[in-house]
Symmetry: C2
Subunit: 444 residues, 2 copies
């Protein structure tokens, strides 16, 4: 008998890579936080002496979801300003609230709330863009959550930095010194958008990101208004401007990319640009629906993200996956577009690829970190099960995520956080609501 | 002190009518299955001596959801044939499976599964179109669920009837004799679509429905293909043909209505036609997105439906409400379209109106049946709560529905069915899956 730390036996194991495969009654063996084997359950029982054995009949065991774009701390602003267009939402509600409230305590509490919500819905890795990225990174580390922490870059002052140079220097410190070579935390740069960053800063950022070998992610072609404003201000579409500045390349993760011409899709494909699709945020802000099937057909890696809870308003990857699959069909005018297995891949392996973590997570393959979730398909709303992948994409609720492991640590057990007090997080969130509401009442 | 059977005290009561109101710390008093009072919790405690008192702090108490269009028994085919276009989905998968399997046992088991799923997600009333409507009605009655049971009408034979005349006569018996004046069950006629019913049968149906004073609901302008096929076959758009046959009037409930011209929207408004919007089914079959905001602006009552689980694949009204609100914004190119309160109204009161039940259910008003649900907003993903209506529409999962009452009977308690065995329903569903799969394997 061989030793392993943990053996998880599930009704179905869905490795994602290879694509579209469902393995009935299989097991994953874990040692030192990594997957060491994927094999039939019967073989696993005879081959492995496990420290801990977990049996999940009727459950699908899959790679944890990868949320490739969010602003975790903004969960504290969830529902504060709904049903507004992007520009008014940002300028009249979100930015003033952020300027008033954002600080270390806000970011820590908001990020804790977000990570807890993501874990409970099966997400094991998120990419974040927000002020105080060092607090985001510390919080993820403390909660044992995998994160790509991106440093914001803006021209204007925020509570965290005064100007683009300071954003860049603070970001460099974080990227270079504090979280280099970390098992759970990696880093990136996140210029907010082409409307809020100058040519000079983009150029400085490009040089710096090249030196440090770090990816750049930014909100790009999210709304028609953004493109119109850019044309009015600079005479260039944002993508053309970035091309001129040398940023359209394989280090770029373009977030949203709702409004791309056919030519721009070809250009992204040729340059190796990756995209993050945020379907529900795009709908809510009336931005439109990205041409995901067309991008994928052109070979672009498209990841999936929730965006922040202030514009979604859930950090619920299973729901986002469902929306992505459904919207892709109507957008492409083709009901066969984005079949269930492709949607599941987008929410896991493609997310890992887009974040540069494809060799680390995103599939049930030996050597990768054991970032996993087990989803209960015995619930009424998932019955009967003809095809487990179809049920995962089209017929589950988030609470059917019963177990989640990050680098082998059992973070969600039977649908509850094992390492974190939910009651404490809810209490802190309510306190923030009371504080923010009191100020709004006082000002009104 | 006055007597009432049940007193429910909730953190928030949201009556829906009047529109957009949130009542903090209020209570609903129930006697003989009907709402008798809605008042502040403190007043309720001093005024009422209740047989049963139920306290739900942190919960929103709302009217139960009205699912205005489904095919309940088709839950047994959930996930059998995904990612196919409407015509192939119907002709190659669904209709052959139905012809092989549909019978009294299939309809009873499928309808039980569907009702259980709907109750658990807060739905207290559904409108159904399926074969063996007498079994649908009996099952709803046995499970104490409110239902509008519509008799299908088709030219071609099914296991239930051989021709249009037989569908009509069987429907008349059901409507006229067996479920007349029932507290929970009402009835309607459901010609399947303009492509499957002749002019002669439509005319006979119109006369019959007038005599019996029953509404007619049918799939109408669901896909572009349906309209093209009709033009090729008859030279008329389906709506024009129905107009000629005298069916475009206030007795008509048009299901889907994805493809309407501006003129057709005006015509529906002028004639008092109601519409059922099924956003996720329409996306999945690549039919498109209905112009809901435009229809509402024209004064058309638009209800919300899940459609059957074979094309959705959930019977989850909270999720459908969220999708409707999000899609309306992008379809109208206006992020202020369908604000949260309008989406909640669509999923409750407007559904009741469209089904002719506005005086019976759909709001928390004295005299109406106590069809209610309590939704827990203390969960992480609904925190913090600035606006309970926003959270209900944008930031809940179905499992936050903790209690459901139909005509005052407590059908879901703490998230579990109180009157029905979930395990039994799951077992029966699995047996159907095994039977259907065995036949598919045998034929392959």
């Amino acid at each position: 008998m061989q030793h392993c730390d943990t053996l998880i036996l599930a009704g179905w194991c869905i490795p994602v890579e290879p694509h579209g495969i469902v393995l009935d009654d299989h097991a994953v063996a874990i040692t030192d936080g990594r997957i060491v084997d994927l094999l039939p359950a019967a073989d696993a029982r005879s081959l492995y002496a496990a420290g801990t054995t977990i049996e999940r009949p009727g459950h699908a065991l899959i790679p944890g979801f990868v949320n490739a774009h969010t602003h975790a701390a903004m969960t504290l602003l969830r529902g504060l300003a709904d049903d507004l267009p992007l520009e008014r939402w940002l300028k009249e509600s979100i930015w003033p609230a952020e300027n008033r409230w954002v600080g270390t305590e806000f970011v820590r509490d908001g990020t804790r709330l977000a990570i807890a919500e993501m874990l409970l819905s099966g997400c094991t890795c998120f990419s974040d863009q927000y002020f105080y990225p060092e607090i985001v990174a510390e919080t993820a580390e403390n909660m044992h959550m995998r994160a790509v922490v991106a440093t914001p870059v803006l021209e204007f002052a925020s509570p965290w930095a005064n100007n683009a140079a300071e954003y860049l220097s603070k970001g460099t410190e974080l990227v270079h010194d504090r979280f280099a070579e970390h098992a759970l935390i990696s880093s990136a740069f996140a210029p907010h958008s082409t409307g809020t960053v100058s040519d000079e800063s983009f150029t400085a950022l490009r040089v710096l990101a090249d030196q440090l070998d770090k990816p750049i992610q930014l909100h790009l072609h999210e709304s028609a208004q953004e493109i119109e404003d850019a044309l009015a201000a600079t005479g260039e579409r944002p993508i053309d401007r970035l091309e001129r500045l040398g940023l359209i390349n394989s280090s770029l993760l373009a977030v949203h990319a709702v409004h791309l011409t056919d030519e721009e899709i070809s250009r992204f494909a040729a340059a190796g640009v990756q995209v993050v699709h945020c379907p529900n945020s795009n709908l809510k802000l009336a931005d439109g629906v990205a041409k995901v099937a067309q991008m994928q057909a052109n070979g672009i890696v498209v990841a999936l993200g929730t965006d922040g809870a202030a514009s979604n308003n859930l950090l619920n990857m299973p729901g986002e996956m469902r929306s992505a699959a459904l919207l892709a069909k109507t957008k492409a005018n083709d009901a066969t577009a984005m079949p269930a297995a492709s949607a599941l891949r987008m929410a896991t392996f493609d997310g890992a690829s887009a974040l540069g973590l494809a060799d680390q997570v995103g599939s049930l393959q030996s050597g990768k970190w054991a970032d996993l979730c087990a989803i209960d398909l015995t619930r009424l709303n998932s019955q009967p099960v003809y095809d487990p992948i179809s049920q995962l994409v089209y017929a589950i609720h988030a609470n059917q995520v019963r177990d989640v492991w990050v680098a082998g640590r059992h973070q969600v057990e039977n649908g509850e956080l094992s390492q974190t007090s939910e009651a404490d997080i809810v209490r802190r969130s309510s306190e923030w609501r009371d504080r923010i509401n009191a100020k709004l009442t006082q000002e009104a």
